[in-house]
């Protein structure tokens, strides 16, 4: 890292010039400064990794940060739809945590959290012991409510994939699509909102249609949406479907999947309509991740976690902050990686202020979500969210934000630049 090398050079130069160590800037002396607190971050996704980095950065090393993440590497959900279409190598989604350790002094622990003891302020793990905290940030992402879809048991899940967490299922779904005969039907079900990544299912439909159009032109993409309309960039997605995928994509709103039959590879909705597909991709409804549930943080609709929007502290449990997809979001705030990054920074800022003996202040947040509609063309939705003291929640700034005029190649380039930048931004 250049800045680290610079600091090191400056430090050596300063000492060489006989300047007293006490006169050096805070950066070089961070280790000698008194710790102002301990923070444990649970989950190293877009939100958690960002929070860990900025707690170290903004406290100038005075907050001891432990990041507990069960996976040895970060795998990005954003851009994973490109893998399904064969436009991206899966390995480009994989990123290590070494940068957080080496550049920022974050302590990485690869273990599963088994409990948060709020009374004793300790996080317990399955095989790495316990970690004391002053504040804990819970960033567990989502887990699926498989029991809301009859027949979606463990055996069925071997065959009927969701691929809504990037990882082995992403590659497995790609294999199913490759093996699908020309003329086959790929069916995707979408749960009722709120769900992770509002434009994600529609992007997936576009990218898979793009792949099929070139490689298996007799095939169809069937989009079965439990919602009454396209949940994000509606006009743009509808326009692309009409212009480019009219013969391929069939979109059906108000189609709420309630059961699957793995033997038949079929899905049935609440009206009893059944669809059989060559490749069946069922995304179940989800809720805040398991640890949020076991720690008693879920207090909205038995699915999501409500927070104080100044500190991102849970309204259910004190000193426990929740960020990312696990949140009950503010109005028009999507469950996106970009948004989780912003939550992570907001929580880090609040905790730095609190542990410094100052009151936390609300901060602005912004979102940008890109979607690809084929190998090269991208489009976006963007918004800015400002805290409203009366409503005690961030509200979208009127007149700000919006969507692309049309999908185009320039925005495709920016979409990929966004991904490469945010991965570096959160992990190095």
């Amino acid at each position: 890292m250049n800045s680290q090398n610079n600091t090191r050079r400056q430090f050596i130069k300063a000492v060489g010039a006989g300047i007293s160590v006490a006169a050096l800037s805070g950066s070089a002396l961070a280790a000698n400064r008194k710790s102002i607190g301990r923070v444990v971050v649970i989950g190293g996704g877009y939100g958690g990794a960002t929070a860990a980095k900025y707690l170290r950065m903004w406290s100038e090393g005075r907050i001891d940060v432990t990041l507990i993440e069960r996976s040895k590497e970060f795998v990005s959900c954003p851009m994973s739809n490109e893998v399904l279409a064969g436009y991206r190598n899966f390995d480009t989604l994989r990123h290590g945590y070494d940068g957080l350790k080496k550049n920022w002094g974050v302590k990485l622990v690869h273990a599963s959290v088994t409990a948060i003891d709020v009374e004793k302020k300790r996080v317990k793990t399955d095989h790495s012991g316990e970690f004391a905290f002053d504040h804990v940030i819970v960033a567990p992402g989502i887990d699926f409510l498989f029991d809301q879809i009859t027949g979606y048991n463990e055996a069925a899940r071997e065959k009927i994939l969701h691929a809504w967490k990037a990882g082995p299922q992403t590659l497995a779904l790609r294999k199913q699509l490759e093996a699908m005969p020309d003329g086959g039907v790929y069916a995707l079900t979408i749960p009722k909102a709120p769900y992770r990544c509002p434009p994600g299912p529609y992007e997936r439909a576009c990218l898979i249609a793009s792949y099929l159009k070139t490689n298996k032109p007799k095939s169809k993409v069937l989009v079965l949406d439990a919602n009454d309309k396209v949940q994000s960039k509606e006009k743009l997605f509808r326009g692309v479907w009409e212009a480019d995928y009219k013969e391929i994509i069939d979109y059906q709103p108000n189609w709420n999947a309630v059961s699957v039959d793995a033997a038949q590879n079929s899905v049935t909705n609440e009206l009893g309509d059944t669809v059989k597909a060559a490749v069946l991709n069922v995304v179940p409804p989800h809720r805040a991740g398991d640890i949020a549930q076991s720690a008693g943080l879920i207090n909205v609709n038995q699915r999501w976690c409500a927070v104080d929007w100044v500190t991102l502290e849970s309204t259910a449990v004190k000193n426990v902050h929740v960020i990312g997809d696990a949140l009950m979001p503010g109005p028009t705030m999507p469950k996106s990686g970009h948004m989780a990054n912003q939550h992570g920074k907001a929580a880090a800022a609040a905790i730095v202020e609190m542990l410094s003996g100052r009151p936390a202040q609300p901060t602005l947040m912004a979102n940008t979500c890109y979607s690809m509609v084929d190998e090269n063309r991208g489009m976006h939705v963007a918004s800015v969210h400002r805290y409203d003291a009366e409503k005690k929640a961030p509200q979208p700034v009127a007149g700000a934000g919006g969507v692309s005029i049309e999908p185009n190649k320039l925005e495709g380039i920016f979409a990929h630049a966004w991904a490469n930048t945010i991965w570096k931004e959160m992990l190095t």
Binding site: N103, A366, R386
Partner: protein, 99 residues
């Protein structure tokens, strides 16, 4: 202590020490820009870096995005979410960062 020993000690100290940037406290919102423009505005992509640009230039560009006199894919939309004061604070912050 010999110079080599001093350097060795410093080397060890520096390896174990993270590097800390200028904190934007209390204006943490400037970090909103980092997502796309890189930490402290030092991105390396087709999205422009902001670190080291002049304060005046950044303010002028943001005003042009707001007014619609500079074409953009999305900055004309995001810029409208920030007040003139906030833009001045962010511009001063990025102007003070090393390229």
């Amino acid at each position: 202590m010999s110079p080599a020993r001093i350097l060795a000690t410093l080397g060890m100290a520096c390896i174990s020490l993270p590097t800390f940037a200028q904190s934007p406290a209390p204006n943490y919102f400037v970090a909103n820009c980092f997502n796309c423009h890189g930490t402290e505005g030092r991105g390396h992509s087709t999205i422009p870096a902001l670190a080291g640009l002049s304060k005046t230039y950044i303010i002028e560009q943001m005003n042009a995005f707001k007014a619609g006199t500079r074409q953009a894919t999305l900055m004309h939309q995001l810029s409208k979410g920030y007040t003139d004061d906030e833009i001045a604070i962010a511009a001063a912050y990025f102007a003070a960062q090393k390229k």
